[in-house]
Every structure is written in C-alpha cells, then in structure tokens.
C-alpha cells in the first residue's frame, strides 16, 4: 500500500502557513471539553502538554520517572540549532532546511524539515523568554557555536548542559500548568497499552510503578512523546530506563513503525571498559570544534604513549578524507571512519576500539584557560570515568548508539495512521531521514511540542466523531485486563536467567550484526537468532517479586520483552533496504572509496511496517519521498 503524508499543496516555503490558514479551530469554550493524554514528558512531551494546557485543553500527562525533570532530554549536551542568522554568516531558513535534508542523506520528508527550520527561530525566542540561561556575549546578545554538518554558526547553547536547561524550561512551563490545575500529572506511571475504539486512539493503560496498580485512562486523543529505542542495543548513551514499550505497544495496536533501521551511532563516546558496563557516556560533538581526531599511521605505534607519537606518524583521518568539513563531518560518516581505522588495526586503548580526540593544538592556539572555559565540564566527566587528564593526554573515543531516527510513522500533522494518535519528538520518524545532525534533536522535540501539535491536533478534534469512552467501557476494561495478564505471565515464568542477561545478549547481537556496518549474511543470522532468544526469554527468564508493588525487575522485563520483538523488525528493515544511507550502512552498497551508496531509483521511500503478529511477517507500506525543492544528490563533505 502507498502511504500518503498528507502534505499541504503549494510551494514548500508556504506549506506550513497554508496548513494553519486552512486548519479547523476549536473555540475556547469547547477546548475545555476535550481531554488529551500526553505520554512522556521530556522536551517534546512537556512542551506539548504545557502548550496544549495553555490553549485550554484538559491535559493528562504521564511519565515513568518520579519527576518530569528527569527525562533523558536532560542529558543532551551541545546545543540547539536555529536559523536566526545572528552571526551574519549567511544562514537562513532555507540553509538549515537544506543542511538537515542533506545531513539526513535525502531520506526525510521535505515538508516536515522545512517546517522544522521555519519554527526553529520561534523556539529560541520562547526558551529565552522562559529564562533558559543561554550563553551570551558581553553585549548581552546570544552566543552561537558551530556543529557537525554545517558551515555556519547556528547552535545556541547553555554551557555543556543545553538539554538540561531546555528541559527545565519545558518542565517549568508544564509545572506552571500543573499548579494552575490545567494539567493532571501522573509521575511513576508507565504506559503499557493503547486503547483503540473503532480504529481511533482513545486512551492508554498504565501501571503505577510505585504500587503496581494497572488502570485504564481515556481521552479524546493520545500524544506519544516517549523517545527512541536505542536501548535495544543495550549499551548506549541513553538513560537506563529509556525504552520502546509505549511506541511498540502502539505498533501492536495498529500504528505503523517507520524506518526502524535508521539508528544514529555517535562518534564521540567514551569507549567501554568491561562487561559489567551499563552505559556509554557521550562526549559532546562540540568537542570536535577544537579537538582533532587521529589514530597512529602504523599499527605498531598503537600501544605507545600518544604524546610520544610524532606529528608525521599520526593520521588525522577526518581532515585527510573530508578536507572541507574535517573534524566536523556528520556523525554517521565520522563513526564509520573510526570503525574503519580500528578494523584496520590502528585503534587505541583496550581491545583496540578507540581513536584519539586531541586538544593539544587547541590548547596551544587558545590557551588552556580558553579550552577549559569552553569544555571544562566535559574534561571533568572524562576524568571521572577514565581517571585520565585530557589536558595532558588525548581523549580516547569510540562510537556508540545514541539516537534513533526511525519511529512511529506520522503524517504532516504528526498523526499516525491510527486516527487520534499523535507522535512527537524522537518517538516519530519524521524529520531526520537516515541521519540526524547534531543539535537538531532538541530543535525537533521543541518544535513538535511547542509549535506543531497545538496547530494540528485541533484538526482532528474539530472533526472527530468518535467520542471519548468511559474509563470503565468495554474497550478500556479489556485493554487493562490484557495488561494484567501480560504482567502475570512474566512473573509466572520463574526461570533461571536474569532480565539483564537477556538484554546483554540481545545488545551484543544487535551491535555485531546490525550496528555501524551491516550485511545480508549478518542480518539473516540475527533474524535466525532473535526469535530463539525471545523464545528462551519467555521460557527461562527470572522476574522476582510481585506485580502489586514497586518492582524494578518487572519493569525491565516488560521493556526487554518488547526489545526482543523490535530487534527483529529493525533487522528486517535493514535487510530489506538494499542500499546505504546515513546511519544505515550496508557493506554491499558502497562507492569505490568506501562511502555510502544510495539507490534512489529503488529506495527513495519511507518504509512503514504494519504489525501482523509476533513472529509473523509484517506488511510493508511505502511513502514515496517526492523531492520538489531539493535535487537528490550524493552527499559530499569532501
């Protein structure tokens, strides 16, 4: 089936204003009659919940943390892009749009990306007004820095904690609405199912993590802003709680999952040090503004103290291969280049899985003080984790799973194919194509929440005929009972292996066979192994404790059970996409010099998968990507 993105007609630059001009409004007296559920209160969810409540809708918001301020958006370090052109360096909405499309390797929907670039400027205004303490010049104006994949300085930042500050801004806006009684906030609540009535999304089932109570909540529309699925690979830069459960259960209730194989592997993370490791820590991409990436030219130098390796014996491979972008080449390209260097036997550190990120030249040029001012907190983090002083010896970095571009399919209004189900932020697939540029995740989350959803959800609410069901209606009660049965099933297995053990095994398999480079053989191997692992899980997992209490083992078991299904879809999608694009690199499809080779004639489409049962082949739906403004080109950063 061919999917329609419901993109407004007319020239690209006018589409969003045309959409708003023609959208149906809900008058203020009627807004308070509508209830909207928002699941997840990170950047996208908190900004959406706050804004919808400001407009007068009755909002119920849910998060599994003890407070909305803990969502993993908090961990974003580097910054947020916006086409303000405050630096007078030639930036524009069009340029941000084009950079994002190109960065995504021409696999994103043009119209969505253009809208993102348009509203980027409003985001900065809104956040500054909320009191986000952005970096400033002495004159009091906003400071900018540059980021990967762009040749202008358009990234706004708050030290190395931009995500934290933007999240606190959205959290405070949300808190204001909670205080005013316009948002009812449910913390420590995890969504475990979607309630669908006559094909429309009308509620969710949650488990109260503090006491285990399972309950149905109904509404006129459901907004999911539940983040990405990178923890499917176990070791990642995600928070340990981040999971795909809400999105996955929506998928199993009919929402299409788009481009699951598009996963971002971030080039600058601290390499792993042992099997016990629970997460990988990111070193902000901003470090690549002043740090130079290199490995020894000769294998035999790898064990040496890096400071003893002569300049002539170092291979600054990014500068060598991509002279015009150098160390600021996009993430997918930089990650793959690091892997190639290590595969070539020139990696450094434990297991030879690391490359140097060297600041000695920057310290010479700027002075240690300036480097400290710019990146001090990152150097501190590095020292805490590794015990090494990066002012003295180069950092060691290696790529790690960081972000998922794939997610639930949505049309231009951010509504999934299930009417009434909207999906925002990382949880949807919409804006980053096959690779996301740095400082664009924060931009998209806030764009979706502050500016897009308040202008699109009204179109659904104003025209919907399906009424909000009661919380004790048949559909709601049935959905809640199904969730209760699922919990009982997990607790009854009482097998021999821990949940973490299964998660680790799944993660290793995914990293090896569906990581930075993929091929047919490896993916087919994974597709044979995943069902076996899933079967072993349901036979032999040991979930301790009871359902009617706070039970972290049970929480994790439900999430890993879903990863065990999702992993299969990721591999299927990766196997079907017989091309390389962005974060999806198929070894069979590369140019003579090892760059990604797209096949636009066959794969210029969004692959949206429809659930047909666990272990049953999903149906593939295609949304063609029609480029009207941009010419499809081979991405070059040389």
């Amino acid at each position: 089936m061919t999917l329609n993105g419901n993109v407004p007609s007319g020239p690209l630059a006018n589409q969003w204003s045309e959409y708003i001009r023609h959208s149906k409004l809900v008058n203020p007296a009627n807004k308070r009659k509508f209830e909207i559920i928002v699941v997840g209160t990170g950047l996208a969810g908190a900004s959406a919940a706050a804004t919808l409540a400001e407009l007068g809708y009755k909002v119920k918001a849910y998060c599994y943390h003890d407070s909305p301020r803990r969502a993993h958006s908090v961990a974003a370090q580097g910054g947020i892009n916006a086409a303000k052109n405050y630096q007078n360096d030639g930036d524009s909405v069009y340029r941000l749009f084009y950079d994002t499309i190109k960065g995504g390797d021409f696999r994103a929907r043009e119209s969505n990306v253009h809208r993102l670039a348009e509203v980027s400027v409003n985001i900065i205004d809104q956040c500054a007004a909320q009191g986000v303490p952005f970096a400033r010049e002495y004159g009091g104006t906003l400071a900018n820095r540059s980021f990967g994949g762009a040749q202008v300085s358009r990234t706004f930042y708050a030290r190395g904690q931009t995500g934290q500050q933007l999240l606190l801004g959205a959290y405070q806006a949300l808190s204001r609405q909670i205080g005013l009684g316009a948002v009812q906030m449910f913390t420590r609540h995890e969504m475990l199912d979607l309630i669908v009535v006559n094909g429309h999304a009308k509620g969710i089932v949650t488990r109260n993590l503090a006491d285990g109570e399972i309950k149905a909540h109904t509404a006129d529309a459901v907004v999911l802003a539940t983040g990405g699925y990178g923890n499917c690979w176990n070791l990642s830069t995600y928070g340990r709680q981040s999971n795909a459960t809400a999105a996955w259960r929506a998928y199993k209730k009919g929402a299409f999952f788009a481009n699951p194989c598009y996963v971002q592997i971030h080039p600058t993370c601290i390499p792993r040090s042992g099997d016990y490791q629970s997460k990988l820590t990111l070193m902000s991409e901003s470090l690549r503004n002043d740090g130079r990436v290199w490995v020894p030219k000769r294998k035999e130098d790898c064990g040496k103290n890096p400071n003893d390796i002569a300049e002539a014996d170092r291979d600054y491979y990014l500068e060598r291969k991509y002279p015009s972008f150098g160390n600021l080449a996009p993430r997918d390209i930089s990650s793959r280049a690091a892997k190639e260097a290590c595969d070539d036997g020139r990696g450094v550190g434990p297991g030879g899985r690391g490359v140097y990120l060297d600041f000695s030249e920057a310290i010479q040029r700027l002075g240690k003080h300036k480097v400290e001012e710019r990146y001090g907190n990152l150097f501190d983090i590095y020292k805490e984790i590794t015990g090494e002083d990066a002012y003295q010896v180069p950092m060691r970095i290696y790529p790690a799973i960081h972000y998922t571009m794939g997610g639930l399919w949505v049309d231009y209004s951010l509504m999934s194919n299930v009417p009434g189900l909207f999906v925002l932020g990382e949880a949807n697939f919409s804006d980053h194509g096959a690779n996301r540029l740095g400082a664009s995740a924060l931009m998209q989350g806030l764009s979706d929440g502050y500016f897009v959803i308040p202008n699109t959800i009204n179109n659904y609410l104003a025209t919907q005929k399906e009424k909000r069901p009661a919380a004790d209606s048949d559909a709601a009660v049935r959905a809640a009972n199904e969730v209760r049965d699922g919990v009982k099933k997990l607790l009854a297995i009482k097998g021999k292996r821990t949940v973490s053990d299964f998660h680790r095994e799944l993660g290793n398999l995914m990293w090896e066979k569906c990581g930075m480079a993929r091929d047919k053989e490896g993916l087919e191997y994974a597709l044979r192994e995943i069902p076996k692992l899933r079967e072993a899980f349901w036979r032999d997992v040991n979930v301790t404790g009871e359902g009617e209490e706070l039970n972290q083992a049970l929480e994790k078991a439900g999430r890993v059970a879903d990863f065990l299904e999702l992993a299969e879809l990721v591999c299927k999608d990766a196997l079907h996409r017989e091309e390389s694009c962005g974060g999806h690199f198929r070894s069979e499809h590369q140019t003579d010099d090892g760059e990604a080779l797209r096949h636009d004639d066959k794969f210029a489409y969004v692959a949206a998968w429809e659930f047909k049962g666990v272990g049953t082949e999903p149906d593939l739906h295609q949304e063609p990507l029609n480029y009207e403004e941009v010419k499809l080109a081979t991405r070059s950063y040389k």
Binding site: H65, D66, S67, R69, Q172, I385, E549
Partner: protein
C-alpha cells in the same frame, strides 16, 4: 577487589533494616551503580529480591540518584552524583553502608528509593516564568549581561536530586529553592514576577515539611553541582524585600 555492603532494605508500610551483602571481584573502573547491578544479578540468581534504587542517566545530570554512601549523600567524592562515583574510590575489604536520602519530606517508597514529589510541588507553586507559548519577543530584544547569564546558569545547574536536603540536619530545602529562585530572578525575563515567585516557593517549601536553614553549609558540601550557599543569602534578601513590598502594597501577591 571485594567489598561488603550494608544496605538499607525497606518495603511499603514496614520498618526498615540493614542487610549485608558481599560484592566480589569489583573492577576499580566500575561505577558504584554498576557494582550494585552486579550484586542485584547475584541476588536474583539466588532467588532473592534485588535492591531497589533510583537511577537513569548514569552521567550525573538527571538527578535520579539518591544514595547516602558511608553517611554522605552521593558518597565520598566531591561534586559528583552517586552514579559518578567509581569503585576506585574504595579499598579492597571496605565495608560500605548504603542508605536512602533521609528526610521527613522525602518518605521512603522502597529500599533506597524515596518520594521527592515535594520538590515538584515547590516548582509548581512558582518556579517558572509565566510566558505562554507564542508570546515571546525576539530572543535578542532583551539583552542579558553576560555576568547575569553566567550566574543564572550557575544556579540553574541544579539537578534536583535532594542531596542538600539529605545532608542538612534540619532537612531544609533552602539550597534547592534558592537555586531555582536565583536562576529566574537574576534574568531580566524573570523580574516581573520575582516577588510573587519567592513568596510562593518559600510558602510551599514550609508547607511541605522541610526544616529551617541554620547556615551549616552542609548542603553546599554535598551538592554534586557545586551550587553555593550565596544563593541562600540572595533568597533571604529577595524574600525579605518581597514580604515588605507586599505589605506596603497591601496586596497578596503570592495568591
């Protein structure tokens, strides 16, 4: 290295107790939470319930961590959260005591996990700038002196973990409240509702059962983000001014 743990275990409605566990073969590069993960794997494999503790980002920014390690909130290292504490801070054979953040306003839910909802309610009372989406002027139309922005950022770095409360013998939340008030009050954008904000936040803080500040500075010593008690002084000043102005104006600005 091997260490012995004395861990606080407590279920809902139950009086808690310490249990002893052995953590064997710890790698010095392991984080403290990774060590607990391993202990939990062992407990699960021997049919016992794993230790409940709150965690998420494991890089010191989400503020979930809430462990008191050997009597110190977030443990022995200076200016880090529990998750940024590494086993290299301990010696082979050490006995390590692990407790939850303890305070009247932070009731224990289970084991090492506490309810810090009171912090959210303080923010809901006034820890924000009232600006609805869409009504903001161009970001550069209101210049913010760099020193104000930097100082505001120092305060805004608070991760809301509650170590300040756990460290305080009075269970005071002044460092947390003052950091949020300063973050917003220092910016021109936050001036319009400064008095209202301060009165509302302090009023809620008192109502939530937090104690009074007696200037021991234990909060600053425990803070993983280095928030300074200077902000408490600023809050006291802002509060006094707000109270006086409110009386003079004869309006209840906190309502």
């Amino acid at each position: 290295m091997n260490v012995t743990l004395k861990v606080w275990r407590q279920s809902a409605g139950e009086k808690g107790r310490f249990e002893r566990y052995e953590a064997r073969n710890c790698n010095p590069n392991m984080s403290f939470l990774e060590m607990l993960d391993e202990v939990n794997e062992d407990l699960t494999n021997s049919g016992k319930e794993p230790i409940v503790f709150e965690h998420d980002c494991r890089e010191g920014i989400c503020g979930c961590c809430s462990l008191v390690i050997n009597g110190e909130p977030h443990g022995p290292e200076y200016r880090v959260a529990s998750c940024q504490t590494y086993m290299r801070s301990f010696k082979d054979g050490d006995v390590i005591t692990i407790e939850p953040f303890r305070s009247k306003a932070f009731p224990v839910i289970k084991d090492l996990l506490v309810n810090r909802g009171a912090f959210d309610r303080i923010i809901q009372a006034g820890g924000f700038i009232s600006v609805s989406t869409g009504s903001a002027p161009d970001a550069n139309s209101i210049p913010v002196p760099k020193v104000s922005a930097d100082l505001s950022m120092d305060a805004a770095a608070c991760i809301g973990c509650g170590a300040c409360v756990a460290a305080c013998k009075n269970g005071a939340a002044m460092l947390f409240v003052s950091a949020k008030a300063a973050h917003l009050n220092l910016l021109p954008q936050g001036l319009a509702e400064k008095d209202r904000r301060v009165l509302a936040m302090v009023g809620t803080m008192d109502a939530e059962g937090f104690g009074s500040c007696s200037n021991t500075y234990a909060c600053e010593a425990a803070c993983p983000k280095g928030i300074t008690v200077d902000f408490i002084a600023k809050l006291n000043r802002d509060y006094a001014l707000a109270s006086v102005r409110t009386k003079l104006l004869g309006t209840d600005v906190a309502a």
